[in-house]
């Protein structure tokens, strides 16, 4: 096949959809009013923001009054953990339960809370990256205030048993937060049916721009604000609202919601073709994460005898954007905490590759990856002193 450009790193970020961009642009130029002002220009911004809030709420089966806009997914995660543990609903309980495969926005926040005197339990996950529900039941104590388990994992794609976790938490009187940054707009989420109390989401994972996110806070829960100021977002999150970003997030949520079923079928078909193609065409490669219960479009692997950063660089030379959890891609010498947590050895974890397909990807993209990736792996293996067929 001829050289082409294939963006296969949609779990990192996504391009802003054309419809979304059209919808947001006027809020930078003609509709620039501050939503807190009384004149019509400001009230028009306010109305657009409230419309976006309804779209996000509808996508979660929440009430608009339970949606609060923030700057990014990381901020939502910080609000959920810090705001809840320090807030009134914790009722003095000091114990937080989470998992070792969370995003750093959760893990580093949990570390910080631990330094403040809170205690943290990390639930074990199995080889597929699925949280152990029995371990959760046993970990909950009278001192447990909050459980935080991600909806879908960003590195290995595994979808967690959120409804079951929500059921356990609700029956035990413990609040449940889920980091749904990778999942929102990609798989159906019903905060009521799933007994979710707090949920984090981010715009740029669903073809809205970077710099906007939201948190769902179930009615009746109060988070201690981590940003104080002018009292925007009903005092939950001060700071002049990013109207253009919020409008974009609302529009992106609407598009995702209206096309979710077809898009899940389409992406799952491409994902299956990609996974089976890689496993058939390349020797000594393994799928990471759950074999079927995955985020649509997510394919993650480890390859024997090659190192992940080299794979990513060589794929880039072929026009393909992908990601790795290899140590060499980070500032530390440790491979991804997620890959180590699902039981991979450090040796194997160095050869990881993540391909995440999104709205703009086609079957031709998958064919192109399936043509170029085997060549890349072959070239690197020929160079490798540890590769043995």
């Amino acid at each position: 096949m001829e050289d082409r450009f294939v963006y296969a790193d949609n779990a990192a970020t996504t391009p802003v959809a054309a419809e979304v961009l059209n919808k947001l642009l006027p809020f930078y130029t003609t509709e620039y009013g501050n939503a807190s002002t009384l004149y019509r220009l400001g009230q028009s911004s306010h109305a657009a923001m409230e419309n976006a809030r309804r779209e996000v709420a509808l996508t979660l089966n929440a009430q608009p009054s339970e949606i609060f806009f923030v700057g990014c997914g990381t901020e939502a995660d910080n609000m959920a953990l810090r705001g809840f543990m320090h807030g009134p609903n914790a009722k003095g309980r000091k114990h937080l339960i989470t998992t070792p495969i969370e995003h750093h926005a959760i893990l580093h926040t949990a570390d910080a809370l631990e330094k403040e005197g809170f205690s943290v339990t990390y639930l074990p996950v199995d080889h597929d990256g699925t949280v152990d529900l029995e371990a959760l039941k046993q970990a909950i104590t009278p001192d447990t205030a909050l459980v935080s388990v991600m909806f879908g994992n960003n590195e290995v794609g595994t979808l967690e048993p959120i409804a079951e976790i929500g059921q356990i938490c609700r029956s035990r009187g413990v609040c449940f937060h889920t980091d749904a940054v990778q999942a929102f707009g990609h798989v159906p989420i019903d905060v009521k049916a799933m007994n979710i109390d707090l949920l984090s989401l981010s715009g740029h994972k669903l073809n809205a721009p970077k710099g906007v996110g939201a948190i769902y806070i179930r009615s009746g829960i109060t988070l201690q604000p981590i940003i104080t100021g002018g009292g925007q977002e009903k005092n939950r999150r001060s700071g002049t609202e990013n109207i253009a970003g919020i409008v974009a997030l609302g529009e992106a949520a609407r598009i995702r919601r209206e096309h979710m079923e077809q898009e899940i079928v389409r992406l799952t078909t491409l994902q299956n073709k990609l996974i089976s193609g890689v496993l058939e065409r390349i020797p000594q490669v393994w799928l990471t994460g759950h074999p079927t219960n995955r985020l649509p479009g997510s394919a993650s692997f480890v390859f024997a005898g090659v190192e992940g950063e080299s794979i990513v660089l060589d794929l880039d030379n072929n026009g393909i954007c992908a990601a790795t959890g290899s140590a060499c891609s980070t500032a530390s010498l440790d491979p991804s905490h997620v890959l180590l947590s699902v039981g991979l050895s450090r040796e194997v974890a160095h050869g990881s590759l993540r391909l995440t397909l999104g709205a703009q990807n086609t079957e031709e993209d998958v064919d192109y990856i399936l043509e170029r990736l085997p060549r890349v792996i072959e070239r690197l293996r020929v160079m490798s002193p540890v590769w043995k067929e």
Binding site: G305, E307, E309, S310, L313, A327, C328, S332, E347, V386
Partner: protein, 145 residues
């Protein structure tokens, strides 16, 4: 973190990659746990490195520093090769990101390790000549600095 054009050139088109069946000096440094392994194979005649090949498991910088290091010793005497430093390899590549400096150290050590093997095969204790050939922990220490 961004690589220079030279690093990408040596990663994409590595010089002297492959095996050298008639090598008389072979060195391997690093380990799989750390994610970098470099193997250097040399054919040395009358103290001149007449041929050199490498194989590397590692990141783009690991491949590029191996490639550059082999270029810098090929055709040179053993004594000249012993003077190769990681700084010289880095400079020749127009620099490396700070987290990748250890790759250039590994390349220097791989060359030294091969030269140590060359002396060993002649029954000469290489330690006074070649010095210490580091291990993976040395890289970790550099990272911590």
């Amino acid at each position: 973190m961004a690589y220079s054009e030279k690093v990408m050139d040596h990663f994409t088109h590595p010089r002297n990659v492959g095996e050298l069946p008639d090598a008389n000096a072979v060195g391997q440094v690093g380990n799989l746990k750390c994610g970098d392994i470099m193997k250097i194979m040399m054919k040395i005649e009358n103290d001149v490195i007449v041929d050199v090949k490498f194989q590397t498991f590692g990141c783009g910088a690991a491949v590029a520093t191996s490639s550059m290091a082999t270029e810098m010793v090929k055709g040179h005497t053993v004594q000249e090769a012993l003077k190769l430093t990681n700084a010289a390899v880095m400079e020749a590549l127009d620099g490396l990101p700070p987290v990748k400096v250890h790759c250039s150290v590994l390349a220097e050590e791989a060359i030294r390790s091969a030269l140590a093997d060359y002396y060993n095969r002649q029954g000469i204790d290489p330690t006074p000549i070649v010095g210490c050939v580091g291990d993976c922990d040395a890289c970790h220490d550099i990272h911590k600095e």
